[in-house]
């Protein structure tokens, strides 16, 4: 025995104070109170009929998680909330993925197991002690999730959720969804830590990026779960983040890759509508490049592009983050250049106003007609960064300005430009979400432009844009600014259809298995499709949106799931159609959705260059996410497919994508 060790022990024993009596009493009382509350809650039953409110609530919680988990600096959460999250899991999960063949408990378990692993890798730097997470919390969560009383807590919780303040878990590693599972894994002992006023100052960090993503959508067995429902997504932020990572010489973090955004980044020229609908859906069935035994069902939506001259007048409120972190060359200066480019595209009667937020919110430019270019440019030039960020106060002012500008027949949009800092002023993420959603009802849209890396808060951007009927784009270069703000200005700023949801029912007689590629963060529940109160994505003028399913025909060698020993496995459908495609959308300003539907037939359509290129991008995205379903198909094949389908490529976007694929190929070696 070394004497130093004994000295240490003796010193430690001497140094360890006795617990403070008052704190001890308070802590014990709090424990007992929570114990009693838990017992009380467990006795209430959940009314099963209220699907709507429940779904809304789940949605709210999901969004709250998206927002809340993104940045440090929000505030306190309590044990109850943490448990609320545990209980919420089945509901929240359902929203994200239509109920799969697994029971919610199993879904939860699988998910947590994965996050457990991620958590470990994240914690590895903290020391070997955390390198192996004990298995018990996983098991314990399962217990709770499976418990009958689980949902009771959820329903009884909203008041508690609302009235408590939250400490934002510090979330650098957080992809919203995994993150929520992560919270659950570590909950409740871990995440709800109450922090005294003086204790935690969340220091700004150099690398606190938070991405919003979810586990790759799993394969579904048609006979068990024939219906797939999701919201369209026209964001492009993920592609730009991927590009910025690759050009910096790194593979992007897996959670930064949202396959559908990689695909939808590119303009496609699918056939336009000649009917009454503002867009046209083109369905193509083609062979899967990465699997000879499966087929792809390719759905291309093309929004009509009204004549630019016919477009209504536009009111734009730029809400610009001028916090200290925005001073980098690729943030505020790039933003100024970008807006200068955009200004040239506006028509004289359009109006522009600028509101900044940096410590305090201020209107830098009164609503000014685009014709007075020099006034706007001068205001833009005066912008300087400095101070802390109070996103919410700025947002309120921006909306006020926007509402004052709005006239009948005009399109009003708030364009929020930020590097993702919502540290100060965002006291209640749920309230912020509600605020934005509320304004959405009033007709003001919100777009979010992300600038700079290192601090980028992709998850908050997503959450804000999704709630604000807007798009989230990430601007890393002037040419990206050009694409988003100039080339696609009309689409980005003029919505032609709101709440666009897609539901596909596959025919078990033809399709044994299917999986939706991407759209993990956009999955909806089956019943949400017909519920006009459930929010979904928008299509802008001239936008195209692509969704791709990989389907395995009945009898194919590529069927991955084995037959069941017990229970029905025979599909009930008549052979002939692969499935049935349904789409709902609302015209801007309308409350009632309209329905488009058509059958999906084997061999339907012909895959043009656009469709093939989009498939190459889907493959690229999947490779970056790990490529679980791609077999031996790799970079070389993706590059070949993309190169061959490059088409006219007037702006060079596709050529750039091929360059990125090559970079990724070299980096992954």
């Amino acid at each position: 025995m070394s004497e130093e060790f004994d000295d240490l022990k003796a010193a430690m024993t001497a140094a360890t104070p006795a617990p403070d009596t008052a704190r001890k009493a308070a802590n014990l009382a709090a424990a007992e109170e929570n114990f009693a509350r838990l017992q009380g809650l467990a006795d209430e039953r959940r009314p099963m009929s209220e699907r709507g409110p429940l779904a809304r609530l789940g949605h709210g919680v999901k969004t709250m998680l998206n927002v809340m988990t993104t940045r440090g600096g929000l505030t306190l959460t309590t044990g109850l909330v943490a448990v609320g999250l545990v209980m919420v899991l089945p509901v929240g999960r359902d929203l994200l993925m239509p109920p799969a063949e697994m029971t919610p408990g199993e879904v939860a378990l699988v998910d947590m197991d994965k996050t457990g692993r991620e958590d470990r890798s994240g914690a590895a730097q903290l020391g070997g002690a955390t390198a192996e997470e004990p298995a018990a919390p996983i098991a314990s969560v399962r217990e709770r999730v499976e418990a009958d009383s689980a949902d009771d807590l959820l329903l009884s919780e909203p008041e508690i959720l609302a009235e408590e303040s939250f400490v934002a878990p510090q979330v650098s590693q957080g992809l919203a969804l995994n993150r929520s599972a992560d919270q659950i894994l570590a909950a409740p002992e871990a995440k709800r830590l109450i922090v005294p006023g003086d204790a935690v100052v969340v220091a700004p960090e150099s690398d606190t990026e938070a991405f919003s993503n979810a586990e790759t959508s799993p394969l579904k067995v048609t006979s068990e779960d024939p219906v797939s429902t999701f919201s369209i997504d026209v964001d492009t932020a993920s592609y730009a983040v991927v590009r910025s990572s690759l050009t910096m010489g790194m593979l992007p973090p897996r959670e930064a890759v949202r396959v559908e955004e990689m695909v939808n980044y590119f303009p496609y020229a699918y056939p336009e509508s000649d009917g009454p609908d503002p867009f046209e859906a083109t369905i193509t069935v083609m062979p899967t490049p990465w699997n000879a035994g499966t087929e792809l069902v390719h759905i291309g939506l093309q929004g009509d592009l009204p004549l630019v001259e016919d477009r209504p007048a536009l009111n734009l409120v730029f809400l610009i983050d001028t916090s200290g972190s925005m001073q980098d060359a690729n943030k505020l200066p790039l933003l100024k250049q970008s807006f200068r480019l955009m200004l040239a595209e506006l028509r004289p009667e359009d109006e522009v106003s600028i509101v900044t937020y940096a410590g305090s919110a201020g209107q830098v430019l009164e609503p000014t007609r685009a014709a007075e270019r020099s006034v706007i440019l001068a205001a833009l030039d005066r912008l300087e960064s400095g101070g802390s960020t109070a996103g919410q106060a700025g947002l309120q002012q921006a909306y006020q300005v926007a509402e004052a500008m709005a006239d009948d027949g005009e399109v009003t949009r708030v364009v929020l430009a930020t590097d993702g800092d919502f540290n100060v002023g965002l006291s209640d993420p749920d309230a912020l979400k509600d605020f934005i959603a509320d304004k959405r009802e009033s007709g003001t849209y919100l777009s979010v432009l992300g600038f700079g890396r290192g601090n980028l808060d992709d998850a908050t951007m997503q959450a804000l844009a999704q709630n604000g009927n807007g798009t989230a784009a990430y601007i890393d270069t002037l040419s990206e600014a050009r694409k988003v703000l100039v080339d696609q200005l009309t689409g980005a700023l003029f919505p032609i259809a709101n709440d666009v949801k897609i539901q596909v029912e596959f025919n078990p007689a033809e399709v044994a298995e299917y999986r939706l590629i991407g759209y993990e963060t956009r999955a909806l529940r089956r019943e949400d499709f017909n519920n006009d109160r459930i929010d979904a994505g928008e299509i802008g003028a001239g936008h195209s949106v692509t969704a791709i399913y990989e389907v395995t025909p009945v009898g194919s060698d590529a069927v991955r799931t084995g037959p069941l020993r017990y229970g029905e496995t025979e599909g009930a459908g008549e052979p002939g159609e692969l499935g049935f495609f349904k789409l709902r959308y609302k015209m801007p300003g309308e409350d009632q959705s309209r329905l488009i539907e058509e059958p999906i037939l084997p061999g339907q359509g012909e895959a043009g260059e656009d469709a093939r290129f989009s498939v190459a991008m889907a493959g690229f995205g999947q490779l970056l996410r790990g490529g679980d379903y791609l077999g031996g198909w790799g970079w070389t094949e993706a590059i070949a497919l993309a190169t061959q389908a490059r088409g006219e490529d007037a702006f060079g976007y596709r050529a750039e994508a091929v360059t990125l694929m090559r970079l990724a190929e070299s980096l992954s070696k």
């Binding site: 140094a15 192996e132 298995a135 909950a187 002992e189």
Partner: protein, 177 residues
């Protein structure tokens, strides 16, 4: 004879309020000691205790009696401490906390303060995993096996870490002389 921790825990998990009360009052002081050794600051330790207490009712529902209750409880505490560190960047703070106290104490000349100062320096110099290990094994009731269970590593790893700490302490002492 007192009811065993495990029996109390199971009763508490089943909804027995009295069982829960006696269980936490029985363990509070030892838990506080661990919290202190993990954080190095009294206020931090009180807060950490508060966190664990408030969360315990929910955690307890999952207690299966597979481990000793104290081992299970320590795991809850250590996880909470880790998470606190990770979340609020206390990773840096934990080391700083040990250091801050040291500075304060250094002013005092008496022997106890000298000993304290040495403790602060020694603990602050350890990396997280070794410090966590120390926080556990400096409790007489915690065997290397139990510490391993808490931290999710093998008993051998704990023993290795302890000897590593001895080595470092010795090196420190030699450096002083």
């Amino acid at each position: 004879m007192a009811t065993s921790d495990e029996a109390l825990a199971r009763a508490a998990a089943g909804g027995d309020r009295d069982a829960f009360s006696s269980l936490i009052s029985r363990h509070y002081d030892r838990m506080f000691g661990l919290c202190f050794r993990l954080t190095g600051r009294r206020e931090e330790a009180e807060d950490l205790c508060q966190d664990v207490c408030a969360a315990l009712p929910f955690k307890l529902a999952a207690f299966r009696g597979e481990a000793r209750f104290s081992t299970w409880l320590y795991r809850v505490v250590v996880n909470a401490a880790h998470d606190r560190r990770r979340r609020a960047q206390t990773h840096a703070r934990a080391a700083v906390a040990w250091g801050e106290v040291e500075t304060a104490r250094r002013a005092e000349a008496d022997e106890a303060a000298q000993a304290m100062s040495w403790l602060q320096t020694a603990m602050a110099a350890l990396p997280d995993d070794l410090r966590d290990t120390m926080a556990l094994v400096l409790d007489d009731g915690v065997t290397h096996g139990a510490a391993g269970e808490v931290l999710g590593v093998s008993e051998g790893t704990i023993s290795w870490r302890v000897s590593e700490v001895r080595k470092r302490l010795r090196a420190m002492k030699e450096a002083e002389q």
